[in-house]
Amino acid sequence: MILIDRVTKIYDKSEQHSLDKVSLHIKPGEFVVLIGASGAGKSTLLKLLTREITPTAGKIVIGGLDYDDILEYEVPALRRRIGTIFQDFKLLPNRTVFENISFSLEISGASNKEIQTIVPKMIQTVGLAAKRDRFPDELSGGEKQRVAIARAMVRNPKILIADEPTGNLDIKNSAEIITLLSQINKSGTTVLLVTHDINIVKTLKRRTIALDHGRVVSDAPAGGVA
């Protein structure tokens, strides 16, 4: 599903390796946790996967798509195939829960009828049926992240990338989000979770890849990290 082959990224100014010949292979339906301290290269790797940046060297293939073949104008279509959630949620403050989630379908050209059918189901799935008309300001951190997850999943992507989704949440909400991600994974979606929270790693007991100074320092199989 995700193949990263000897990928190196050097930012022009720093001349330091943000990623240094990183190679990974994530199979379809896997739940992979990516851990590492600040500056380890986690964010760089995610930005490469969402094609916010391009690698200095190496190859990335996702779902059979070789990133070298993707033209600039095709990048939005690539991003629509990958669900992404962020630590700061990135919700539209002047839109309701329903509108934030439907926005993801709106940009794909879905009809209003399709939106009216799909979005309520997704809201139900993430447990926000009672708050569909609330604005982000009226939601807790955990609820905001649920909205973000619903927005990412509403297009039914094969891959979900979660960038520190529990970073701004308390323990209870974190646990709920992780449970939700596990459910999504069970339905067949490949999940790549980036976190620095070792407790999540311990709780999940999934394949865990550790990055340090731009290199993969360990790749422990599911249940391998205690």
């Binding site: 798509l65 033209l71 279509a77 195939r81 990135k90 709106e106 940009i107």
Partner: protein, 326 residues
């Protein structure tokens, strides 16, 4: 090209276009003060160009009318000019390339006209004195010319030694005709038309520059105000045209609204000054035709709105290209 490339079906394209238009309209309403300022500045620009065009049109039309209708030459021959001479002169004048038509009025006809236009008292006085006007009135030759500014060849015919001694006067451009001067009235109005045109162009150019700056900055501010939203849209896979589109629609609304305001303002102003222009002897036929006949009127309205749209579109595209790249 990867397998990602796929054309959206027409139905979905239409849905996307409708959404872009709706979002543009929402932005326009949301930034109502900025929008109002942009529309006002653009309306001033379009109105300046519009009125300069109207003024140039009226002045040029007036010049044309003066040249072809009001500036005909009237040549008067002495009363005792033999018939064969004035007929020959008429014939020679008619041969000139610059002459459209020549009409002859004999001294008898002149006398008749004079009597017809005279008041009762004058007629009585003429009768009392017993003057035969036909013996004193000159013979008139009325000449319509194509170009009043180019009378050299006609002058050559009329001032020929053979005819010169018979000529009483050349009215009412007598002095100019003899002195080989261009017609002052025509040149003055032509001069004014050119000045108005130039003034309009300069003023229009200045306002155009200001308008482009205002719209450019309005769109720039709108982009900065929605920076986070745009960032999110990019990350979840919105197409470039879907992100840029609303800003362009917003600017297009400025242009279209300004075009409509200008057209309405222009019509109101022109309608109200038309009688005054006419009373000042200005020719307003072409202006009337362009502004008040349906096909021309439609063309004018669409043209003005199109110009407004075009200015806004260019300004917004410049802003979007500079501040919304990715």
């Amino acid at each position: 090209m990867s397998s990602l490339h796929q054309n959206l079906p027409m139905r979905r394209k239409m849905i996307m276009r409708k959404r872009i238009a709706t979002r543009g309209l929402t932005n326009f309403i949301r930034n109502s003060w900025l929008s109002a300022a942009a529309v006002i500045v653009m309306s001033i620009t379009l109105f300046t160009v519009f009125m300069a065009s109207v003024a140039t049109l009226v002045l040029n039309d007036t010049v044309d009318v003066l040249k072809t209708e009001k500036l005909d030459l009237s040549l008067y021959l002495k009363n005792d000019t033999p018939e064969n001479i004035y007929l020959m002169l008429k014939s020679d004048i008619a041969k000139d390339d610059n002459v459209l038509s020549v009409a002859l009025t004999t001294s008898e006809e002149m006398a008749q006209k004079a009597l017809e236009s005279a008041s009762g008292e004058t007629k009585q006085a003429i009768d009392d004195v017993g003057i035969d006007l036909s013996e004193t009135m000159p013979i008139g030759i009325s000449i319509k010319v194509k170009n009043i500014s180019d009378l050299d060849s006609l002058r050559g015919v009329v001032l020929d030694d053979y005819y010169r001694s018979y000529i009483d006067e050349v009215n009412y451009y007598d002095q100019q005709f003899y002195n080989n001067e261009n017609d002052r009235t025509v040149s003055t109005i032509t001069d004014w038309a050119q000045k108005v045109q130039l003034f309009g162009l300069i003023l229009g150019g200045i306002f155009l520059f200001i308008t482009i700056l205002v719209i450019f900055n309005t769109i720039r501010m709108a982009i900065f105000a929605r920076k986070e939203e745009i960032e999110m849209e990019k990350l979840i896979g919105a197409e470039r045209y879907y992100i840029r589109g609303p800003f362009l629609v917003e600017a297009e609304l400025y242009g279209v609204l300004a075009g409509i305001i200008t057209t309405i303002g222009g019509y109101v102003l022109v309608s109200s000054i038309n009688p005054w222009l006419e009373s000042q002897g200005m020719a307003i036929d072409i202006l009337q035709k362009i502004m008040f006949s349906l096909p021309w009127c439609i063309l004018l309205v669409i043209g003005t709105i199109f110009v407004g749209w075009l200015i806004a579109e260019i300004s917004a595209r410049l802003a979007v290209r500079k501040y919304l790249r990715y």
